[in-house]
Symmetry: C2
Amino acid sequence: MKLVLATANEDKVREIRHALEGLAIEIVTRNDFPDLPPVVEDGATLAENALKKARAVCRATGLPAIGDDTGLEVEALDGEPGVHSNRFAGPRATYAENVRLLLRRMEGVSAGRRGARFRCVVALVEPAGVESMVEGTCEGEVLTATRGEGRFGYDPVFYVPSRGRTFAEMSMEEKNEISHRGRAMARMRRFIAERFLLG
Amino acid sequence: MKLVLATANEDKVREIRHALEGLAIEIVTRNDFPDLPPVVEDGATLAENALKKARAVCRATGLPAIGDDTGLEVEALDGEPGVHSNRFAGPRATYAENVRLLLRRMEGVSAGRRGARFRCVVALVEPAGVESMVEGTCEGEVLTATRGEGRFGYDPVFYVPSRGRTFAEMSMEEKNEISHRGRAMARMRRFIAERFLLG
């Protein structure tokens, strides 16, 4: 069976491939279909964006497609940047620009009030019209400066107390084990295995 | 296996039960759980409302739950009443009041421009967090007066050209065969059978 990842973000593709390793499926990505039109991620919720991306790719390729969207919900910012996490500092913001803006907005917020939650929604859209979603979350804290060089996005400022490390200080294996996307993908992996009767 | 229908509308319950007949599942409804709090159907889309209803019941009962939402999209009214179909004439509108308002709004719209589409989204929410949706649509026309006494909602003014009858002039069997909800439920039936490895 062939499955398309409706993301062009190589960092995400790596994590998703890792989470689906060993299933009897051939994984291709948006990048294998250069003519696909871009998808505007303007949904009001993570679920809407995840579905929107997967639907567009499923329709264009005729293959089951996986879309995902992720948000960082910061308590001191009333849940922001949330669904706007990718473009917090503007429509073409880099990871570093988003992180800088987040740290600036959190200036003066005391240690006990820096709680945050990563949330990830993964959607599978099938050509016959069934659309399925799973979610994963990971609780942590926003540091006052970056720590670690690995991973991507807000990972260098997202500290996981139970591990004593930021996502950026973890290997991909360790991050996948506890992260929002890792947890959502573990659920999606189980769903795909059951749905398509795979090992 | 036990499955809860997250609707208290007996007309819908009858149609859904009919569509799931013969599967090895025990179907219960919201009415079997008198303490469930009501769900406010304020989603921006049919999918949101269907999920919202199913989530609330799944959480409260610990059982897989099916929610649905239906809209009538009238071309001459730019897709209205759509997600507001249930409460077109007000929050506690009866079927008859909604139909009357629709006919009034359509006064003067000529025969060739009375096209409409019923759309139904059915969502299955499982305790482990997987949420799946299917959709069904049915194309038709809005008559200038009611025809037939059966069924419910906008059925007496929704004419299906291929059958030469309104939904209200059809038996439940005939309506289920071609209707938005019937088509969505046929897809959901297949999904449930595969998902839970039933007959």
